[in-house]
Symmetry: C5
Subunit: 316 residues, 5 copies
């Protein structure tokens, strides 16, 4: 499926012309949007649009990274939007020229739809041109990164404060998934930031350079996002290391309790065992105060052990 819109020299809009009409016609500029195109529609990229085979290959294959390639008559961009629900990457390919912009995407793109509607209902058509469309598409994409990063921020704050009193196992699982998401977000946002940097510093993209302030604004947002992601990742490391420290400290404490109890009662249990033996000849058993002597001995041993642990500082 594809749709087209053309701007005539008198700033009038015509919709849904055929691609051949656009290529051969005398328009101020036009926009072709390939939405989930089928094989035949993809062939329009070859003819009549006659884009370079490498760029067409990049359009067709999904596994791409944001990039910018210069060709003789146009510039080719690969950008990545993030699906708000699955956090998966969705690729948008753009061909930019002085008098046309071609957008191409295998998944439905809310960002493109938004810009398409805004443009086709615009009252000041004369202010729009292909690079203006490019700006708005990129701007929408980057704006849509924020809710995802903020959501992670919220998750992290919840983990950090743990107001719901959840178990450490659940928290660790959440933490690990959050790190996974951050890795995934960074994998999209970093190359997008690098792409914007290239655009801003390009000598060739003259139509973009005229809109420097606008693209610079997108770049600022990407810088901000990168910093937020890095800060969040550091925070997850800190929380996890803090958990490990606390656990290691608590294990230590638990071990001490166990050892104190064991060390005090094991010798006592041994002694009572001794006097529970059934030998016929055990002189102590018949002593008048044997029992009380044994009890006294055990009190002494328990007290001694306790003192020893106090001296070792285990009760601190």
């Amino acid at each position: 499926m594809f749709r087209t819109i053309a701007v005539k020299k008198n700033n009038e809009l015509i919709k849904d012309l055929e691609i051949t009409e656009l290529v051969s016609g005398d328009f101020k500029w036009y926009w072709i949007d390939f939405q989930q195109p089928d094989k035949e529609e993809i062939d329009f990229l070859r003819s009549p649009l006659s884009f370079h085979p490498l760029a067409i290959e990049d359009c067709i294959h999904h596994l791409q990274r944001p990039k910018l390639d210069y060709y003789d008559d146009y510039d080719f961009f690969v950008a990545q939007a993030l699906n708000q629900k699955t956090i998966t990457r969705e690729e948008v390919n753009l061909f930019l020229s002085r008098n046309y912009i071609v957008t191409f995407h295998h998944e439905p793109s809310g960002e493109i739809d938004d810009v398409w509607n805004r443009f086709s209902q615009s009252t000041n058509i004369e202010q729009w041109d292909p690079s203006h469309v490019l700006y708005h598409v990129f701007d929408k994409m980057v704006d849509n990164y924020f809710p995802l990063v903020n959501q992670i921020d919220d998750t992290l704050n919840e983990i950090d404060e743990n107001s719901k009193g959840r178990s450490m196992e659940a928290l660790l699982k959440d933490l690990f998934e959050t790190r996974h998401d951050l890795l995934s977000l960074r994998h999209t946002i970093s190359p997008m930031r690098d792409l914007l940097y290239r655009i801003l510093n390009s000598q060739r993209l003259t139509s973009v350079i005229e809109k420097r302030a606008y693209f610079s604004d997108i770049y600022d947002h990407l810088l901000k996002l990168t910093e937020m992601i890095e800060a969040s990742r550091e925070l997850t490391t800190d929380i996890r290391d803090s958990y490990i420290s606390i656990n290691s400290n608590e294990t230590n404490h638990v071990m001490k309790v166990l050892t104190v109890i064991t060390t005090i009662f094991m010798p006592l249990t041994f002694i009572v065992g001794v006097y529970g033996m059934n030998f016929t000849n055990m002189p102590e058993l018949n002593w008048k105060y044997g029992y009380f002597g044994a009890l006294g001995l055990m009190v002494l041993i328990a007290a001694g052990m306790t003192l020893w642990f106090i001296k070792k500082g285990w009760f601190k």
Copy 2:
């Protein structure tokens, strides 16, 4: 709310003029300070001040990072102060031109108040100009970072020495919070340092370049702060890793005590259990020296175990 102050060509000060009077008037230069402005006051940025929509958007939205944007007639700065109590970021936006400076902030700003008072009570008005105001605002902001970093330093020293003998749990909690604060401070101070670097190396900010030594001094302080923060963060890592090492070593020691006690007493307790059984036919029970033989056997076992542990080096 906003306030204004204007310098006449004869270096006389006039306060609280309307913005329209300032814009149309013939002053040497003037300063407008928007303090927690309401919606109508914000509209003055659009008209009569006619700033660029992107800059105005940056003023209104809170989530910003320190930055510098060049516009045709003025330069736009976003700077961040740190609230002394909550360590939260407070944004100050500044528009700098040859003949005016506009400051804009949603929270009350002690730094701006200080500079405002100092300027309006100044006796050498001729030495002041918009870039001089900019310097003083930035200088105050950066000076106010120091108490926060120093306070963290003090906390760290206290944790390190632990003169109050607090529990390791409490120390670990403090440590984690300190790392959190350091992350937060770095998140403000690093971009501020980058901003000052851009200012110092800018070809366009001619009025600032004339005051190079002054802005360079602020940049030095930011470098120093960055190094202090990095050093503090490394120190927290070291303290935490040291705690983990100590804990791991102590756990090891506690385990050995437990194992030695258990290994010595378990076989003994088993033996006394054997001779506590009530079988009718247990020949040893009737031996004359059965009891003493059993005691002797147990002494031998205990001694053997002890020797084995000594040989294994567990008592080292």
Copy 3:
């Protein structure tokens, strides 16, 4: 073994000429491919091809890293393919000139075979030249990296989800081997990326510069691969650290169970031991409700201990 193919000025192909015929003949350009050459064949590099001794040495020795050396009449490349089964590096050496390309490899190279066949069966011979061969060889090599990286990705996903419910020991072993493979892949792919970067930014490789878009495409793939490897390595670190956290937390929990059980039952077992002693004079034994008193005492102790642990939060 070696094979040759030459392109005549009229774009006709001649196969399997002798090297001396090629060097002295008047061809548009020719390609010599040394496949697992023996010592005598290697000597052809010295004469009649007369390559520089250092380049010949680099050909012969296996232990190399991807590189590019400029010589007066030709450029010398070392590239590395990855064996699909063993993930070991296989070196391919290439000498590139305006009118010849020489490929040299000690192991059979599927990549070279592919390009050789494609070229010798090509119908548009006039489009091929030495740098076009170079592009196709590099392109095939880099394409063959992808299945290896993807395979690791799959392994990681399987470890992460552990749908087969394997033991943690097995998972940790897999994880460690995956990290090993990633290290090994990076060791080939990083220098290949650096090589492509050098090629793209070289001032001397004029024939390559004309095909910039093509080599740039390979470079993009290498960038993508590098990012995938780095992300995978970070993910392995995360999974491992997550395992350690979970283990540490679980150990803590297990310790608490053990300690609670021990702490409750050890005193009780001691008390029953006391009343199992055989002293003749033990007044309590003859009390009417001695037994029930003892049972009551033990219930009290058990309850007290349990309350103490609840208060300490060990049952949370």
Copy 4:
């Protein structure tokens, strides 16, 4: 307190002139050294020396980092010496001009004293000039870093070999303190190295450029020191991580011993307990070989457990 020395045009030395005499006099060059100056002496910096207020402020405040500021008629350096006993930083401020050098320090400086004496007793006065003094002061400072770094190296070797057989707790404490000292040393030496780098690459410090080989020599020493510190820090990390590994492995071993003993003796102790019960109707007790049967059962259980542990590989 301050002292002065001036070189006349005929290379004669005059000591202890007043600062006003120096400033107004016609000397080849002179040196003023402010040692722990009081408030009135500090005022000499303002007048008659008339240094820039920012430089004077940097002199007075202690909290500085090594730096270089260019002013119109002189260059201002902040350098840091290390107190040999406390490893604390001691700041030395230097003003360098063609015809004077002013040194300023709040603590006594052994380095300055050395150079002062060497100069005032020199026989070839004509070879000295302000930049020569600067070189000697920096050289002395950096030479004095070496004993501190070497001392740490010795401590680390002692910890690594542990020839004195100290406890791991003591070693970990030493290790942590060593890391602390390394952090502290790096905090001085890194900025000093950066300062020397700036000096070597400065276009303005013409008098220094003539002595390039000398300052380059100091820079080499600082590079060497930086590498020594980094290597030492990595070594401390390695030692600590090695300790943790060893501890973790040992804990594992200790746990196994404990578990083996417990698992073998607990069931046995239970069984002897069973036959120690005083029920009137316990048929086994009256069997002729009941006792020996019980002993045999227990041998079987112990042997079975032992085999099970051997099979699990716990005795490896």
Copy 5:
């Protein structure tokens, strides 16, 4: 001790001339090699060779890092060889000029000996010049690094596979020593690589630039070595972390065995203890099926505990 060799204008060799003869003579070029020189021989550096005091100081002092210093008439290099047995650094100092090379070393140098012999027995003397000697000395040094790095690689493979079935303690000790050696190797090889980089990019070393391909070959080897060392270090980190993970996992498992055994048998042992008490009034003891009831109760408790652990997944 020192030795000399000079090349006459007619490419004839003369050995063992005095240094004064060489300096004043009219030779094509000459080579002086100081092997473990005594104090008097060191003085030849001052006169008649008249090298700069700083370079002489660098020769004498052992603690150096590889470097390159330009002096007016010659260039001064410090290089480091590695002793094949002790992996300690051995310094070689070289003075290079158009018509001489001076090598200076405190320890015997196999590399220098090799080159000396090769040169003095060479049949094509006209191809040699001072920079050719420099190349061969550096080449030999760097070639001698490889066996050391390969040896570490072998050790690591042995640790990784542990075919000899050694204990984890022994493996951890080896691992730590390997890391130590890698640190030590990197400490030599990294600065050597940086030195070669400086040589290759120097504008001044014209005689070296003519031999660019040769020095570039050495640099490639150093790059390869650096990568091998980094990869080995990462591998040691991975092995160690893998050990810690495995240990942590195993400890967890051992703890569970211990806890299961304890939790099942402690209550049982308590119960048999209860019925082993000697109270005169214990009704259960005289019940006909008291004993069997007690046994039944204990079977129930054991089964319940086991089910509880199965439910908790501890037997997975």
